[in-house]
């Protein structure tokens, strides 16, 4: 069921800001409060705003469940691949601390954050963020589609 013209215009203006805010929370997970799960929930609530404003039938024409399931599976595979990367020592070893790619060591105590620190943690944040975005979007989309068809059939 489609909402009125004012609601559609405002949600067209607000949705890119919500997406950018969610991606900011995911990527800066090792410096500020946040991380993969929290940023993924913010992004999925932006997609839920689109579903409520435009109706689930119009969103389902552009955003199919098949593509979202490929996104979720690739997020899980990247997570397990990073866990197996340091198998020479133990299973979840942080093998990027000390090297040049994401491997600076921050000074102890009070410091303004440097984004190239953290080892393997920012990459795992991105993988878990992809998984949570795709998972929560599929749940909201499938339940909205199923509850609208009940009204059409009767």
């Amino acid at each position: 069921m489609i909402m009125s013209k004012i609601v559609r215009t405002i949600s067209n203006l607000l949705t890119p800001l919500i997406f950018i805010f969610g991606l900011y929370i995911i990527i800066h997970g090792h410096l500020t409060p946040g991380g993969g799960f929290q940023g993924g929930a913010v992004f999925a609530s932006g997609i839920a705003l689109l579903i409520v404003a435009f109706g689930s039938y119009n969103i389902q024409k552009k955003l199919k469940e098949h593509h979202l399931s490929i996104l979720e599976s690739s997020g899980a595979l990247i997570f397990i691949g990073l866990a197996f990367g340091g198998i020479a020592t133990v299973f979840f070893y942080n093998f990027l601390v000390g090297s040049s790619f994401f491997g600076h060591i921050p000074p102890t105590g009070f410091n303004p954050g440097d984004i190239w620190t953290g080892g393997i943690i920012p990459l795992m944040n991105i993988a878990v963020g992809l998984k949570v975005i795709a998972g929560l979007s599929v749940i909201v989309l499938v339940m909205a589609l199923a509850s609208s068809k009940i009204e059409i059939e009767e």
Binding site: T32, F37, P106, G109, F110, G113, I139, M143, A146, S147
Partner: protein
């Protein structure tokens, strides 16, 4: 005896869990039953977060940190996992209620009891 009468957050957790158990025992509408389970989930998450509070503490983050002792980070990590598990359980329960309504035509737990076919 270790303990004091001023543990107000822990008494709030006991009140939340007690209200949730009373709702689960006595309601017949299925949607209200799911609401009772969600309140129980919230009470347990509150208990985990307030276990690790230190007097006049700051958040356990070193970026632009003010002066003070830091609170414990491990209970906050366990609460993150617990919230995600609560979301998964709520999604599955609501899907099953939608299918029950489609099959039998009512969401009262006494009337939708005899499933035929």
């Amino acid at each position: 005896m270790t303990g004091s009468i001023f543990n107000i957050p822990f008494l709030a957790v006991a009140a939340l869990v007690g209200i949730a158990l009373y709702i689960i025992i006595s309601q017949r509408n299925l949607i209200k039953l799911v609401m009772g389970i969600v309140i129980l989930e919230s009470g347990i998450n509150l208990f985990l977060v307030t276990l690790g509070y230190r007097e006049a503490g700051i958040a356990p983050i070193y970026t632009n940190a003010p002066e003070g002792v830091m609170v414990l980070p491990v209970p906050q990590a366990l609460t993150l996992t617990s919230i995600v598990i609560g979301v998964a359980i709520t999604a599955l329960m609501l899907s099953m209620i939608m299918l029950t309504y489609r099959h039998t035509g009512s969401i009262d737990s006494e009337k939708s009891r005899k499933m035929k076919g």
